[in-house]
Symmetry: C2
Subunit: 370 residues, 2 copies
């Protein structure tokens, strides 16, 4: 039998995620598996909660990693906070906003949505107009739209949502650990992320956090959460309290990876990591411009960790990306939906956000495009 | 900062799961992360599907690992196959049968259940009586009840369910790779498992398989699956077909682990692995009896990989288990629910099912109990 793992390539991951993983995180994944009720493992769980509180800038007790990828984090937030007939307002300017709408509709919510052009941020005046006319149970938005490279004004919208009285749900899958994000200060009630972006851990877990107001909504539900696996009212009894109650077997080794990934960031200093992302983004943009390539998003709405680049006229998208992969072992992303063939998505997430990676990509671009 | 991963213990895992993990699987987890649309990774996905078909003894096209732990497998099967108002019949003789009932009720099914004593198998005549009086959309049962150590007669009930016309859903979380299991031959329409039992991979993935009849039910749904993350009608487009459509980012490194775990079993020979489980079980039972310890389950319904042992009168459950862990670095499980303090659960799953482990446990037992 041939073992296909024996000769895996090790491409440089510069797409929209997964990002590069540090050797320490790989080593963590391979640490000996402990039982999910072993006191030593529970000690690690407690530390992971503190790490995540630090990362989200929150004091929320209910701050844990969900046992699934980033999309499971989205599902967890909606399924725990929405009951059939709830009024939900979703702001959409990319794939992940649209996904939120799909998730909420499946749960029987009355969903209003506001769509903005892909590549531009959500506009405050339009949101305010809508919020002033109707009271909502929940307002949801994506912080860093991975499909377009746009950063949405989360803090400002937080103030508008607070006036409306709705719960404020924010997707920070791509933003966490890469740009400024202050959960408590910005009035965010529920948040979810993923491990494979700026945390630089392989995909498999979704850090989430719920405010007191969100926990109250959960506690006062009229119906059971229609999803046993993601029911936080039960999961919470495994992640906190003296007597840990078994719910499902936690993904032990993935949690080692998340522990180490957070450890790395906190040791470097979260603020330093954010500055590094910004500096590397500035370097990349300069180098791209030097090569005659333009960014898709206006300067003031750009994400440092996800750079959408216009594909020049006459250049074949797939041709360039497959050359990058096959000749230079570099992965970048293509566009999604209406942006297919129109943009490339260059990730500078976590461990990927380093000078040598940018130089390696630009060298390859020069050879392919000239 | 102190890194709590630096000095992790490496206990011998002889509880109800997670089980011992081979060094090759640990190494696989630490292989370089590939992109989730990288052709090399898609090639691995295709091989994992074939491995799982081999393990389940099925030709079903829809045979994949779900991105969550075993309980996510349970959730996936129910949420894709049940629509509100469907008639569902659940056979219960332990924790995991009860969990099925909870999951199905949350999805709006009309649930009938039949409860049997914990520690005894589901009884065929009672099932037949019920099935002859009512037509069901789905009948569900647990193969290996991890909470009691009982093996249920899956093949025989499969015949009864076929006559009724219902879909037949089987939990094989603990049975897969440890005892005989023939999905196609036994008329099973939907099945789910977990990685942390007899596959000897850390927890984090749930292999599932759907028959043609199950896929038809999914295709003919009147309503969307009320769970975006686990909606197989979308996930299937990522796991098969020429153009792989992104759904959620797969847990890449966990899938490396599953690949290696299946590889190990298929290389040893699935039949040989099953025989090894049986032989180790027989050895354990002999040794336990020599020490005056009795099994909780009648001989003909015992699971080889999950041995429920009666705690002798006057012996303190937690005292013994904490000595086993703290003095001998061996983890075994306690009883759940009504069996708390009444039984120990000794796992002989996958890599754990070896002579040296049994001897190590028995030596420790002798020192603690005498």
């Amino acid at each position: 039998m041939i073992n296909k793992l024996s000769n895996l390539n090790k491409p440089l991951l510069m797409g929209p995620g997964p990002s590069c993983v540090s050797d320490l995180v790989y080593k963590a994944l391979a640490k000996p598996t402990l039982g999910h009720l072993d006191p030593e493992f529970i000690d690690l769980m407690d530390e992971i909660k503190i790490f995540l509180q630090t990362m989200f800038h929150t004091k929320n007790q209910l701050t844990i990693p969900v046992s699934g990828t980033g999309s499971a984090g989205m599902e967890t937030c909606f399924v725990n906070l929405i009951e059939p007939g709830d009024n939900v307002f979703i702001l959409i300017n990319g794939v992940f906003g649209s996904r939120m709408e799909d998730v909420a509709c499946r749960l029987g919510a009355n969903v209003d949505s506001l769509n903005f052009d892909w590549g531009t941020p959500v506009l405050l005046d339009q949101v305010e107009k809508k919020l002033s006319h109707k009271k909502y149970d929940l307002v949801a938005i994506v912080h860093a739209e991975t499909s377009t490279g746009v950063c949405n004004p989360i803090e400002e919208i937080g103030k508008q949502v607070q006036e409306n009285g709705a719960l404020y749900l924010v997707d920070c899958v791509t933003s966490l650990g890469g740009i400024n994000l202050k959960m408590d200060k910005w009035n965010i009630d529920a948040i979810y992320s993923g491990t494979q972006k700026c945390l630089s851990c392989p995909p498999g877990l979704a850090p989430i956090s719920f405010s007191k107001k969100a926990v109250e909504k959960l506690s006062n539900r009229k119906s059971k959460v229609p999803n046993w696996y993601l029911d936080l009212s039960m999961i919470i009894n495994y992640w906190s309290g003296k007597a840990r109650v078994y719910h499902h077997t936690a993904p032990i080794n993935m949690l080692y990876g998340l522990y180490q990934a957070c450890f790395n960031i906190i040791q470097e200093g979260l603020e330093n990591v954010i500055v590094r992302h910004l500096k590397m983004h500035q370097l990349l943009v300069k180098e791209l411009n030097d090569l005659g390539l333009e960014l898709f998003v206006e300067e003031n709405a750009r994400l440092p960790m996800l750079n959408a680049v216009k594909i020049p006229k006459g250049v074949n998208d797939e041709n360039v990306r497959s050359k990058l992969m096959n000749k230079f072992q570099i992965e970048i992303g293509g566009g999604l939906g209406p942006l297919t063939g129109k943009i490339w998505r260059i990730g500078l997430m976590g461990e990927t956000a380093k000078k040598e990676n940018i130089h390696r990509l630009m060298d390859a671009f020069r050879k392919i495009l000239n």
